[in-house]
Amino acid sequence: MSAFPCSEFLNRLDQWMEGERPSEARAHLRDCPRCRALVRDLETIQHTAQALAIDAEPSPRVWHSLRAQLVEEGLIRTGRRGWAHDLAGWLGETFALVPRPALAGAYLVALITIGIALSGPAGRHANEARWISGTESSTQPLSAQLDTAERDTISSLREVDPVVTASLHDNLAIVDNYIALCEKSVREEPENEVARDYLYDAYQQKADLLAQMSERGGDGR
């Protein structure tokens, strides 16, 4: 005989599905085929739902349309460098970082490498195909030097308020995700100039962010 009736089990069904399984409920389920069928169905739904997860990234169209809309609304200005600087400024304002008094070593390294990378598109009209094949070779060292700059900057953040450091790390993760997205777009469409421009913008953003982080570390705040 069941420990309690179906109505009582149904009242506690959501708790059962959350993992709360008192002995009375177990006893009821053992004796009641209707409630067993119900639980089995719900578990099947729960299990199958995991297969619906899609790890998809939006197409480049989304980012292009977004940028156009932001320009139209005056939220960002046109121009590649202007846009990158606006975003960097936006990141800075968001996390209330102090104005930079001087460029840290990491930032200098990053800026120099970005300068080298930005010199790539200038020669592309002369030999487009060679420039495309050179995109990867010009961005790989850039990416590596940014990684080095990131390590140096993070090690300089020891004295900073942990809450601020956590925010900066979150911010860095956002920029890294953006870089990964841009790199993927360039790999998929190496001939797409807009995609390449976005990638360089992304590197620029990371350099700006590292600068802000290292200045924060230097201030000891």
Binding site: D14, I45, A49, L66
Partner: protein, 168 residues
Amino acid sequence: MVGNTAEAEDLTQEAFLQLFRKISTFRGESAFSTWLHRLAVNVVLMKLRKKSGKETSLEQVTEGDEESGTPRRDFGGPDLKLTGSIDRVNLQRAVEQLPPGYKAVFVLHDVQGYEHNEIAEIMGCSIGNSKSQLHKARMRLRDLLHEAVREKAREERRAAGSASGGED
């Protein structure tokens, strides 16, 4: 949540637009990721509610169907097991038929793997409310899937009937 890639991309764009427009309102009281998620979920819910043709609160959306006069279905029977008859395609189809509030909580919890406390923050509701919505969503999905199984059985019977009729 919208079951359509093009629409999902449009909503992604809208969510990022909202991010740019509203970033000044972020006060750091919650994690940035939670704030961004809440903003994105709100964009999707607004869209879903517009599609359903009425502006309603989360509570109205999710509680309303209990008052719709729909006859209460039998909660279970050995003749109607979903095990073996449910796959991601028909579950996806059933999820698309859920009311927006149910759908949001179900997708966040069972599909995306968020915990109830995270969903409560994202949706701006209590943890208990999130649990309750999830339970109702699963029960509704079960009803929808059972109906799909019954419909499939009816179609098979009709097809078998017309095939045997054709042989006479």
